[in-house]
Amino acid sequence: MNNLLAVKDLHTYFHLRNGVVKAVEGVSIEVKQGEVVGIVGESGCGKSMTALSIMRLIQPPGRIEKGEIIFKGRDLLKMEDEELRKIRGSEISMIFQEPMTALNPVFTVGYQIEEVLKLHSELGKEERKSRVIEMMRKVGLPDPEKRYREYPHQLSGGMRQRVMIAMALIMNPSLVIADEPTTALDVTIQKQILELMKTLKREYDMSLIFITHDMGVVREISDRVYVMYAGKIVEEGSVEEIFENPLHPYTVGLLDSIPSVNIEDRKKPLKSIEGSVPDPANKPSGCPFHPRCEKAMDICRNVEPPLVKISETHFVRCHLYG
């Protein structure tokens, strides 16, 4: 399997008045054809910025400083705006976190899905409409002919997220980036949306980058997982490697903080990781996780750990394995 997308050494910085915020610092990610890649981490670890960088949606004062984003053999960062525009929405599309605000309130949902076809195809009016209605049915919107004429505010959060999914998939893209698509939804709806995405992923044979802070969701959907902390990848591996044999103390901490369904386990207090994500404008020296790490050694304070290879697919950035 070839790489559909290869992000290499991506650096995205925000130049603010009181300093430079290094939101993404040397992230490398690979996505193969048909693969689901999960990116996990706490809020502020740079996972959304990585996603936005791939689509080149970073707005000033943010800027992509360095790196390559190779999609189907071509560097998106070197592309002309017009070329990139043709790729956005048709070959790479994005599902946003907040279905409440990601749809334009003044247009009907049917119009907004149809617009993607207007931008990227030569289809006639009737054909577009029937494709939209078909897509709305596929994402499980009941009564699509009626929904077609409704405004976003008339739909529930879960239905709006289905509309976003319909917009993202209607051009049959090879890569879909989903930025916390289930975070803003109720738990029961989360489950439905997750199942829907799994079904559609199989049907459309697309690759998916799934960004979330929820380890349970990652396990459910991903083939491979990247764990991010303070703008860097701290561990990567197959979903089995990450969940059965987590190596980085941060990954271990994330897994320990999931409530268990097992009654025996429930008697023990739920663990949490002490402290919070460092201020990205003022990151600790050495390993950025050392102030919160139970196993921190002297070297961690001064020397940044390299990415250590554990197996063909499993890598970890920690001095414990160096």
Partner: protein, 278 residues
């Protein structure tokens, strides 16, 4: 959004009332020759400053002209000036404000400093100065009012764009591959129109008032062509003995301004379904 918008607008009784006022003034302006009982400039020296009566329902002025007939023709001038001037200022203000707000950076700096420069001039004296060079006349007045009153709209639109461009739906349309012009004018602008429409209705009122003031000073619509402004100006000379010369033009301006305000608010509610249906 077309038919939904119309349906929501007509459900709003206050907005419909405003629309009726506006349409009434429009009908009067369009059918002026059929409504006015006398020619607007027919002088009758034997009946100057007659109070309202069966023959002259709004009385006569100092030259014995029928005030009602002059008011009816004056509606044409006021509406034309109001509409064209606001049309010009809204167009300029919207385009410049949208570009400044969307692109930001040096584009924004240049446009907004230009706005500041324009705002430095006392608008009314700027208009006076320009009109003094050009010939006073209805076309010049419309253009000059339009060219000197777009700055407020530009600021409003820019502020709305600054707010809207960071919202997720803007990012979402960029992410589906829309071009800048489409994003600016099709997706963001309709969301930014509500305050512009309110500003435009007030702008109509403002333009009507500016036209009146210019006419009053003899730099506006030239007699014998009637405008509410120059009837009002004439009324001022005789305000102690002929109240009707001031009262009716004032009432006409009030009704017109009120009508536009109600319509503007109705449009705002109808264009933004969230405000109504929930």
């Amino acid at each position: 959004m077309g038919s939904d918008f119309v349906r929501r607008f007509f459900r709003d009784k206050v907005a419909v009332t405003g629309l009726i006022l506006v349409i009434a003034v429009f009908i009067v302006a369009i059918f002026a020759p059929y409504i006015a009982p006398y020619p607007p400039d027919a002088i009758d020296p034997s009946h100057p400053l007659q109070p309202p009566s069966i023959h002259h329902i709004m009385g006569t002025d100092s030259l014995g002209r029928d005030v009602f007939s002059r008011m009816v023709y004056g509606a044409r001038v006021s509406l034309l000036v109001g509409f064209v001037a606001v049309g010009i200022s809204t167009l300029i203000g919207t385009i410049l404000g949208a570009i400044a707000g969307y692109y930001g950076g040096w584009v924004d700096t240049i446009i907004m400093r230009f706005v500041d420069i324009m705002l430095c001039f006392p608008t009314f004296f700027l208009i006076l100065a320009v009109i003094a060079f050009l010939n006073p006349g209805i076309i010049n007045i419309m253009v000059v009012i339009g060219l000197t009153s777009w700055m407020g709209v530009a600021r409003l639109v820019r502020a709305e764009f600054l707010k809207l461009k960071s919202q997720e739906f803007t990012q979402a349309v960029v992410a589906v591959g829309a071009r800048d012009l489409r994003i600016i004018f099709k997706h963001i602008l309709p969301n930014a129109m509500a305050p512009v429409l309110v500003a435009a209705t007030l702008g109509v009122a403002g333009a009507v008032l500016t036209e009146s003031a210019l006419s009053f000073l003899g730099l506006g619509v030239q007699p014998p062509t009637p405008s509410w402004g120059n009837i009002l100006a004439e009324g001022k000379d005789n305000i102690e003995i002929a109240w009707w010369l001031s009262f009716y033009p004032g009432l006409a301006i009030l009704i017109t301004v009120l009508g536009y305000n109600l319509v503007g608010e109705g449009i705002r509610d109808a264009i933004d379904p969230r405000l109504k249906d929930e």
